[in-house]
Amino acid sequence: MSRVSLNLCLLAVLGGAGLLAIGNVAMPEGSAYHVPTYAVSLAGKYLCYAMLAVAVDLVWGFAGILSLGHAAFFALGGYAMGMYLMRQIGTRGVYGNAILPDFMVFLNYKELPWYWHGFDNPAFAIVMVLLVPGVLALVFGWLAFRSRVSGVYLSIITQALTYALLLAFFRNDMGLGGNNGLTDFKDMFGFALQADATRSGLLVATAIFLAVQLLVARYVVTSRFGKVLIAVRDTESRTRFLGYRPEAYKLFVFVLSAVMAGIGGALYVPQIGIINPGEFSPANSIESVIWVAVGGRGTLVGAVIGAVLVNFGKTIFTGALPELWLFALGAMFILVTLLLPGGILGLLSRQGRAPKITPAAEPAE
């Protein structure tokens, strides 16, 4: 990963988002430069996915943790934001109840469940966006890394984790809207979510968050800490024998990555207008891994490129040839792993393959 390509990527993300926003807000409708609102929302969605992809790349590309449950952190951040947005609806809901969201009135709730308290306060909601995915990652990661669960076993239990959350959030008793999830949002921090200006503002905000995320991620992986992390990725036992504690390094980067994914989810929900348990489905998490693989694992920039390209392809495909999308996605998984281990960036850098990621099989311990 070169410093230049990351700077180029930052420029492209910020500049692109800025141009789209200006095109949407400042250009009159009918002008050749006018950008329709749905395109702004779509771009915002891609950038949120890019945030998730960068989070995945941070753990997979630099710590060798293939998490198949990262979309769970994304969705948890989204739910935290969704709960805030639900409380903002107030009396504008279908039932006009000032305290209870519509689905609670519908399900005969008498009062707000305890975990909904505080979400009317934006500051509290923002803290929760960071805290909920972070704490889950901390507990899960602490248990997993301490007992040296790694490789595919870790992948499988992260998948089981998101599957368990999927089942849990589908329950109406969970008090989070059951399978309909949270939707029908009206405004955020006082701005109407349907307004073009808010949409453009959210896109620019997402671009800024993504840029900050990339800078933080680059700082982490290029620091001394990052060097140890890469050592852990390549040969964990040798790093341990050198006196480092791999589990601490992994845990830190896992939690950081989960928080980043949570922020992505929190920005995703107001732009999409809904969050439901489907976001927890294991397929979503695995898809986010393929974005990283397509772009180029362990490059950060590749994650952004992969997320935007694959999702752009998905939008085109599902619109034009919905039958073929799964074939294309499946083929992408197979071809990238078989023929293009370095992803697009690997191809561009003419190395033909990524920096050596898969170490030779360690002798059995």
């Binding site: 239990i157 089981a160 589908f170 039958e323 083929a331 078989l338 898969t358 360690e362």
Partner: protein
């Protein structure tokens, strides 16, 4: 004129005969007279054991019993008239009038009909009648029950009649204490929910009776608890056998070979679709053997999924050995392709696989309800696992597989073509998954998403049981199945599944190495 005279003569003759028929032991005597006479006649009929009693009283109830001017009784049917005494068809004389009824007559007819079937020639009908008396607890049925018990030869029906008598005696107020206690003992022996609710209804009586009833009620509750427990175990075994079937193939590909095949669920799905295709073919070309279609589907599913498995290994997985995370991603992509291919071929909606007649229905075994399809799946899972173990233990292929697993280079040096063994091992695991699909097609929706629902569970089963150990897979599948079913009543179905998943995640973190001994090819790169 002649004819009329002849008729008159006949009528006179019959009239003369009539009083003689109204003998004291004639149960039909008095029928069609006053309400009181009719009622007595009904009661006499009910106790008579006469073959014609039941149809006559039933006809009376329906308003189809007529009395002629000569007091002979006739039943009107759609086909004509029947003599009520003999049941033979015949032309009724003139002056037919319906036998009159009031409420007392109707009531008598009702209870008579209930007890009459106690004397039916058909064993099942008698048992049903006795069960009806048991449920109604009607003390007025006691005399009929007593007579029926005297006549009854079948031990099973006798037992039900005894229970019915016990129920009726308990319900009757003036039964002596000794009889009541005997009745309680009979009900205690019956030991089901009906009996316990009857016993709970005993609130009046001497202290001895009350105590006996309370004791019997408690004893029944204990027995019921045991049955509930046993039912839970059966459901757990049933779920466990489904998990075992889904995981058995994975125990080979993941457990023995160390290949993370995320398309394993799709091998199961292919097996289920093979079952559907075989069923369609059998219905079209050989409808006579429709019930045996499943037996054709089992080897077919093994071959189809096994062949696809061999193809996957040769074309994809062999390039990814030693790179488990890449294998995982590539096979996930493959699963998407297979799902979409099946969806394009067969459509996205569920396909209808009919359950053969010999697999539907249920049987009661004590307090257990055992559904046949679940029972057969348990048996099938056991057979599949046994066959798999035997194949690994006793066949040349199994020997070579174990050799390659234990020491690939040594095996190669001994002349084993290890790449082919890899392909065949993978094919075997996939084929077993296909056979699981045959079983799952009987209890689950056959849709392109069928396999996805099982993939996480299957991995959990294999990982929990210990990689590379079929016995471990067996124990783990049954443990998870039973744990799931016992948590369900406490927490609800979905929460139970979540709890089991969380417990598993914690367990894996507790014993990560103990359960995955790296005996085979290094699972981790």
């Amino acid at each position: 004129m002649n004819l009329l005279r002849c008729l008159l003569l006949m009528l006179a003759f019959m009239l003369a005969l009539a009083p003689r028929q109204a003998r004291a032991d004639d149960p039909f005597a008095g029928m069609g007279g006053s309400f009181d006479e009719t009622k007595h006649a009904i009661e006499a009929l009910a106790l008579s054991g006469d073959k014609q009693a039941q149809p006559a009283i039933a006809a009376l109830q329906d308003g189809k019993l007529f009395i002629a001017a000569d007091k002979s009784l006739w039943i009107k049917t759609d086909a004509g008239t029947l003599n009520a005494r003999t049941g033979e068809a015949g032309a009724a004389p003139g002056g037919l009038k319906p036998v009159k009824k009031n409420n007392a007559v109707r009531e008598a007819a009702n209870s008579a009909l209930g007890s009459l079937t106690l004397f039916s020639a058909d064993r099942a009908t008698r048992a049903k009648a006795a069960e009806a008396v048991f449920k109604s607890r009607d003390p007025s049925a006691l005399p009929a029950l007593g007579r029926a018990l005297d006549k009854e030869g079948d031990a099973g029906v006798r037992a039900i009649m005894e229970q019915a008598r016990a129920a009726a005696r308990l319900a009757a107020g003036e039964t002596p204490d000794a009889d009541k206690i005997a009745a309680i003992a009979t009900l205690r022996a019956r030991g089901d929910l009906e009996a316990s609710s009857l016993l709970a209804g005993v609130t009046a009586g001497s202290p001895e009776v009350l105590k006996a009833a309370a004791d019997a009620g408690a004893a029944i509750a204990r027995v019921q608890q045991l049955w509930t427990l046993a039912q839970g175990v059966f459901y757990g075994l049933s779920l466990g056998s489904v998990l075992l079937l889904a995981a058995a193939g994975l125990a080979i590909t993941f457990g023995v070979m160390g290949v993370i095949n995320m398309a394993h669920g799709e091998m199961v799905m292919l097996g289920a679709y093979t079952t559907f295709v075989v069923q369609q073919a059998v219905q079209t070309y050989a409808p006579g053997i429709a019930g045996a279609g499943l037996f054709i589907a089992i080897p077919m599913a093994f071959l189809v999924s096994g062949a696809v498995g061999v193809a996957i290994e040769r074309l994809l997985i062999r390039f990814l050995y030693g790179r488990p995370l890449e294998t995982l991603l590539a096979t996930w992509g493959l699963s998407l392709v297979l799902q979409q291919a099946v969806r394009s071929l067969f459509g996205a909606s569920n396909r209808d696989v009919t359950t053969p007649a010999w697999m539907s229905g249920a049987t009661m075994w004590g307090g257990l309800t055992i559904t046949y399809n679940r029972l057969y799946i348990i048996i099938f899972a056991a057979v599949v696992l046994a066959a798999l173990m035997a194949a690994l233990r006793f066949t040349a292929l199994g020997l070579q597989m174990r050799a390659v697993t234990q020491n690939r280079r040594m095996a190669a040096a001994m002349g084993i073509r290890t790449p082919w063994i890899d392909a065949l091992t993978f094919g075997l695991g996939s084929g077993v998954a296909g056979m699981a699909g045959v079983a799952l097609s009987q209890i689950d929706n056959v849709s392109p998403n069928l396999g996805q629902g099982y993939i996480i569970d299957s991995f959990m089963v294999v990982v929990f049981g210990g990689v590379g150990n079929l016995w471990g897979t067996l124990v783990s599948a049954l443990t998870l199945g039973i744990a799931n079913k016992f948590l369900e009543p406490l927490a609800g179905a979905v929460l139970a599944k979540i709890l089991v998943l969380v417990l598993l995640i914690l367990f894996i973190q507790r014993k990560p190495r103990g359960l995955f001994p790296l005996k085979g090819r290094a699972v981790e790169a």
